[in-house]
Symmetry: C2
Subunit: 229 residues, 2 copies
Amino acid sequence: MSLQEQNQQLVVTERTRHRRLREQGSTEVADLDAILRAGFVCHLGVVVDGAPMVVPTVYGVDFATRTLYVHGSVASRSLVRAPDATVCVTVTHVDGLVLARSVFEHGVNYRSAMIYGVPRPVTGGEELLHGLRIVTESCAPGQWEYAREPSRKELAATSLLALPLAEASVKTASGPPQDGDGPDGELGLWAGVVPVRTYFDAPEPDPALPAGIAVPPHVAALGAGGPGS
Amino acid sequence: MSLQEQNQQLVVTERTRHRRLREQGSTEVADLDAILRAGFVCHLGVVVDGAPMVVPTVYGVDFATRTLYVHGSVASRSLVRAPDATVCVTVTHVDGLVLARSVFEHGVNYRSAMIYGVPRPVTGGEELLHGLRIVTESCAPGQWEYAREPSRKELAATSLLALPLAEASVKTASGPPQDGDGPDGELGLWAGVVPVRTYFDAPEPDPALPAGIAVPPHVAALGAGGPGS
């Protein structure tokens, strides 16, 4: 296997190996990246006192260094208690409800990525500023240049986790229900997919905003794309 | 405290106690229920070999018995390995991107519920049928009556987890950015919220569907509400 091929395929470990049938696993790095690019909210799983804790938080990816930055004080708190602990970051986009003829064949179309690793806390220095920029730009491209950058005091109150995109699992499900061929296809029942769409609606100005400050182009442009798209 | 008041407030434990400021915690049972009713996909956190695993899956709630049913073979597999293990089920609705004048005040408006507990596997009998009905109706009300019910063989291949809605934490963030009052309000920068909306789009019939089978009313009605709404 050439180096290039290695770079394009995810390494499979015991916990990222795919087992199920209907849902499709992928080891393509491009699939992982597409899922990560399409969102800005992840669910971060940590173990606290032996029990799992799953917290929604924002993230961003530096694709040049293949580093995922996760924001959140909750995560930091758990990290302090267990600095070498593995975390699991899951990003999910729900694409549709699969309504089959039989209850058994019902499902959800989705794209999901799980990233495992021992995160490195980023609590200061150039990397904190860099990571915050990555996370901010992941939410709203152009916003980092537009908004006021964090002060030294604000940076001291901010922490990120950095996680390499090294051990990851991608799962997707798509397409129509699969019970049209068998005897259930003769039942005369409707079957299909009800798509789930997520989009950015028109920006709502802060009521405290003075008159005459227009929505900047990079914010107006958000509506053209949208999370999960 | 009267029984009624007890029923309406969540019991606070060490791990469900709220610590942060901007994000608002709630101990209202009504807030928990509203978040659970508004969705059908959760993130299930389990501990496998000491590491957290966070898996997206579908859920439904029986509000009469206050039992949350979670679907998923992954969960079952981890349960077999650790039958008495606590899980964490998190349901999150992303409502908007909060763009402030300063990067530090940026955030996400959301509603989120975390439920902790030791789940009970439901692998057969009347409760499995009941739980599947709850999960199916949570996704698409009316669909259980419409579709073919599971056969005995299909039930044998299905498992659910049942989790009491006993230990739960609710967190929400809403409203405009909060840096309009201080010096940042003088920067002349636009600030506000970009709402994130999620909806059901028009149903897409299975290509294998014979001509003449119309979308049933309960499926057409999905577009009126939508997940996360």
